[in-house]
């Protein structure tokens, strides 16, 4: 259906894609060393079942678990000028990009989607650390702007899942310019009176932290996520001393007043629903797994519907929702001039 099918199934994605992974494959938790079956790990949102260590989760995987019935629709992100600086280090930038695309099966480092969480319609953007360290360049800038514009158009909240090593160096100054640019996007949401929730995931650093990731109405972070402007190594080199344990981790930032909450990945969905519905003046949400929204939406069921077979949910999301929640939902967003 789209360009993804043109690629060989990506290695990273397939790590967690149950369809393709033989049941006997396992991952070693980098934190406690426990051997975890992929199936078990994937069902647990890539959180270690032994020590609760939060491992990397791609936006696509995250969204499958986040949205009702695992169904979401991608919002089109305008393609920016390719390789604007004709950048070359040891490799050409276009080659690095192609390699990242091949490895992840994704187009770029941010995925923008729309869907419903507990029957609450939202727009969500997820930054993909596995794609060139989630770095912010023109595409990520376009994605943030497209997400904000779509949210404003549909009058929906925007949830931003941040993850970035920093700026896309290969786009030089233009990556730096995405800081004010994405800040304009956040202002659009605020002026439209729409909630903007940031979920900071490991790691969120550099220019991303110093722009849209720190301008949320509410900041929620995943446990132990590294969140900083300057990285710990740079600081240690500057001040020539060892930093304390847990420095710049989510809990540390919570203590220092930079975050509202630190929330376990498995509790984030419910928390988002609760918070959003209060901000929007909606009645309490029906929690638990809900099936995909019907085209002509029925009122939410009074009792939680049993979990959909995740296998099927994953299928639906992968093949892109056959029935988008809104008639105009798949309309491409015009790039703002």
């Amino acid at each position: 259906m789209n360009w993804i099918t043109n690629y060989v199934r990506p290695t990273i994605n397939s790590l967690f894609s149950r369809r393709e992974v033989p049941e006997n494959l396992w991952t070693k938790c980098p934190e406690c060393g426990t051997m975890l079956f992929h199936r078990e790990l994937s069902d647990n949102l890539n959180v270690c079942t032994n020590c609760d260590h939060h491992m990397h989760l791609t936006p696509r995987e995250r969204f499958k678990h986040l949205f009702d019935g695992g169904v979401f629709t991608e919002v089109k992100v305008p393609q920016p000028v390719a390789d604007p600086l004709q950048f070359r280090d040891q490799k050409r930038y276009p080659d690095r990009l192609k390699a990242a695309q091949k490895e992840t099966g994704e187009k770029e480092a941010m995925l923008v989607v729309e869907g419903e969480i507990g029957r609450t319609p939202v727009v969500a953007a997820g930054q993909d650390f596995s794609f060139m360290a989630g770095s912010m360049g023109l595409y990520v800038g376009n994605a943030v702007v497209a997400a904000a514009e779509r949210a404003v158009q549909l009058k929906r909240p925007l949830i931003m899942f941040s993850a970035a090593g920093g700026a896309r160096m290969q786009e030089g100054i233009l990556s730096l310019m995405q800081m004010p640019r994405t800040t304009v996007a956040v202002q659009m949401l605020k002026e439209a009176g729409l909630p903007y929730i940031v979920v900071l995931t490991h790691p969120t650093t550099g220019g991303v932290t110093a722009s849209y990731a720190m301008l949320g109405d509410i900041h929620i972070a995943e446990p132990n996520a590294l969140i900083c402007f300057a990285g710990p190594r740079v600081i240690e080199q500057t001040i020539r001393e060892k930093l304390p344990e847990g420095f710049q981790r989510a809990e540390y930032l919570l203590d220092h007043g930079m975050l509202d909450r630190v929330t376990h990945r498995k509790a984030i969905r419910d928390e988002l629903m609760t918070v959003l519905r209060m901000l929007l003046g909606e009645p309490p949400a029906v929690k638990g797994d809900l099936p995909a929204p019907e085209p002509a939406a029925e009122p939410a069921a009074e009792t939680p519907t049993p979990a959909t077979e995740p296998e099927a949910a994953a299928e639906t999301a992968e093949t892109k929702t056959p029935e988008p929640p809104k008639a105009d939902a798949s309309e491409p967003v015009e790039p703002k001039k």
Partner: protein, 320 residues
């Protein structure tokens, strides 16, 4: 005494020889060296012109960081009258890396802000080498607010290696402070003009340059990362800073092509460090011109245009 840069060594030799000759003549009245010495002067002059005509990106980095270049303080002292520094973020501290306050520019009251690097060991430490902490950004937000409430244009002078990477700075929310500065800057209903006078280092710089008009001195630089930092990450070798400087397109000339800045301010031959007064005057003229361009714009238009300017960033590459 002139502080020569590495690539100016041939120039240093010639100027040194001329100086030696003249010193010799001073101690030996019979010697007539003037003809020879002035020939050397001429040769030096030509060489200086040639050197600065074709500066590489890395050479520009060195010029931009030259300790003898006029700094924020010099510009404020020479271009503004009644400068009244306003201190503190009303929260934690006053950041001496950031100068700022009320002043008159050609008689018109403005808010002027900028990073000051210091000019000797003592003042450099005092100024933290021009690297602001969160207090500096929060002071800037406060001054911008003041400007907004009383309809005063904001003039910012950018010269920083970047925001300070320190423990306390991180604990007190360096990222949030920078993000809020950019946000505030984008919301100002008054004209905002910025001049990059030396080093425009990363997030620490862009928060000060989210302006309606951005100008750069001819040999200043503006970049997402220092060439040394970029080299050590992408080339895994900090010594590849020359290559990194080229690749990053951090010169005023490239940035004008990319539409990131609006104008280049010419520097005296041999760079601002050789004739500070001329550089300061040129910057003054540019500020005046930029403020004039914005003088008739309505508050809403100033906000709208500034936002649009940054929304459009990156729509054209170098090839365009």
């Amino acid at each position: 005494m002139t502080n020569y840069l590495e690539f100016e060594k041939p120039l240093a030799e010639i100027e040194g020889k001329a100086e030696e000759l003249r010193a010799l003549a001073r101690s030996n009245k019979e010697m007539d060296v003037e003809k020879e010495a002035s020939q050397l002067d001429k040769k030096a002059e030509t060489l200086l012109k040639d050197l600065y005509k074709g500066l590489s990106a890395w050479q520009k980095c060195q010029v931009a960081r030259h300790p003898d270049r006029p700094h924020c303080k010099d510009y404020i002292e020479q271009l503004f009258t009644e400068y009244t520094p306003l201190a503190g973020d009303r929260n934690f501290a006053d950041d001496h890396a950031i100068m700022g306050g009320l002043a008159r520019f050609n008689d018109r009251p403005v808010i002027v802000i900028g990073q000051e690097k210091g000019h000797d060991t003592k003042t450099r430490i005092e100024r933290n080498f021009g690297m602001a902490r969160p207090e500096g950004y929060r002071k800037t937000i406060r001054l911008m607010d003041l400007a907004d409430r009383f309809g005063l244009p904001v003039v910012s002078l950018v010269d920083t290696p970047g925001a300070y990477p320190g423990k306390g700075a991180e604990e007190r929310g360096q990222s949030e402070a920078i993000a809020r500065t950019t946000e505030k800057s984008l919301a100002l209903k008054v004209p905002v003009v910025s001049v990059i006078i030396g080093e425009g280092g990363s997030g620490g710089a862009v928060a000060f340059a989210t302006a309606n008009r951005v100008a750069m001195l001819e040999h200043s630089i503006y970049s997402v990362i220092s060439p040394e930092g970029c080299a050590s990450i992408l080339w895994k070798d900090a010594e590849k800073m020359r290559e990194a400087a080229d690749a990053l397109r951090l010169t005023a000339q490239d940035l004008l092509k990319l539409g990131v800045i609006d104008r280049i301010i010419g520097e005296p031959t041999g760079g601002a460090q050789r004739d500070g007064k001329a550089a300061v005057e040129a910057v003054g003229k540019a500020i005046e011109a930029m403020l004039k361009e914005l003088a008739r714009k309505k508050p809403e238009a100033l906000v709208r245009d500034r936002r649009q300017k940054f929304l459009d960033m990156g729509t054209k590459g170098l090839a365009a």
